[in-house]
């Protein structure tokens, strides 16, 4: 842990990350203007995750943190996916005959 305290990340790294984050924000906006069908939401989520990973690794120093810290982060992601995944396991398998939302089993995309 003390290692991470002593580790001073160069200004250039921070600036690069900032540029990347701003660029990704622009990209996500412009991609949203294009109709990709169900892929719009996928691209948006992937870009958001990329940005989040950049912030966590560099702004939050997780890249230089001890294993324990990374374990905590992974636990958070894992439990979040657990909450989403197991609940979706119900919603996505409700049979058409008894459920009014069944016909929306398609991916999260907005389908017109």
């Amino acid at each position: 842990m003390s290692e991470s305290k002593q580790h001073v990340i160069p200004f250039k790294t921070y600036a690069l990350i900032l540029a990347a984050l701003l660029a990704l924000t622009l990209i996500t906006y412009h991609v949203a203007l294009v109709d990709l069908g169900p892929w719009n939401i996928v691209v948006a989520i992937v870009i958001a995750c990329t940005k989040a990973v950049l912030v966590v690794l560099f702004f939050m120093h997780a890249a230089y943190a001890p294993r324990r810290t990374r374990l905590v982060i992974l636990a958070g992601v894992f439990w979040l996916l657990l909450l989403l995944g197991l609940t979706l396991a119900d919603y996505l398998t409700r049979p058409p005959a008894t459920d009014s939302i069944s016909s929306n089993n398609a991916p999260a995309a907005y389908v017109r």
Binding site: Y14, L21, A48, F59, T69, G76, L80, L83, L84
Partner: protein
């Protein structure tokens, strides 16, 4: 054993204290992930259920304001990261300037958010008896706006708490408390601020960019 800074009684040495405080902050952020996770789940279910309504609701949001706010918040994360760096390098003035910039950028974000909210009130887009929308599935659009207000409201609340925390950090930094080798509070404040930033990184595409391509 170095006993400078503030070694609290329950710890054996500063290393142990640093370890402990950092781990504590990360575990706290873990709880925050789950806190927002509940709302993200609600969002996911209803977006699957009402894709049209979410598109209609999203179209009512001001994507330009949202986009600029995203940039502002990312910039504030940048200044915050630099503030931690300034504390590491024991530069008091730089630390104060960077903390103040972070506060200002956060304030800009909240200000824009205020105007966005005011607009929603004017346009009767706040769920409840006053909600009015001519869209065919106005009821479900209410769910979208309920989630919009819940998610951005909780996010804004975290921002306000963050601003208070930054103010405290700024005052202590001005007094030189964090430029003598002990700066765990600045670092933890930074972790918190970055987390709030990450939440917005997800909120922006999920709320503002649902149906731009139409």
């Amino acid at each position: 054993m170095e006993r400078t800074g503030a070694l609290l009684g329950q710890f054996r040495d500063l290393d142990q204290q640093r370890d402990t405080v950092a781990l504590g902050m990360w575990v706290f952020l873990l709880t925050e992930i789950m806190f927002f996770g509940g709302m993200f789940l609600t969002y996911t279910i209803y977006r699957l259920k009402f894709p049209h309504a979410f598109a209609e609701g999203s179209r009512e949001l001001d994507v330009v304001k949202g986009g600029w706010n995203t940039a502002v918040l990312i910039a504030s994360s940048f200044t915050m990261a630099l503030a931690v760096r300034a504390a590491q390098m024991r530069k008091r003035k730089l630390l104060c300037i960077l903390l103040a910039s972070t506060m200002i950028l956060g304030g800009v974000f909240l200000g824009v958010k205020y105007f966005e909210y005011a607009q929603k009130f004017e346009h009767h887009l706040v769920p409840g008896p006053d909600f009015h929308m001519s869209a065919p599935d106005a009821a479900q659009v209410q769910i979208f706006f309920s989630l919009y207000f819940a998610m951005t409201g909780m996010h804004a609340l975290h921002m306000i708490i963050g601003e208070g925390m930054l103010l405290a950090l700024l005052i202590y930094s001005w007094r030189g408390k964090y430029t003598g080798g002990y700066f765990a509070p600045v670092e933890n404040g930074g972790l918190y601020w970055h987390f709030v930033d990450i939440v917005w990184i997800f909120l922006f595409p999920l709320l503002y960019l649902v149906d731009l391509h139409r």
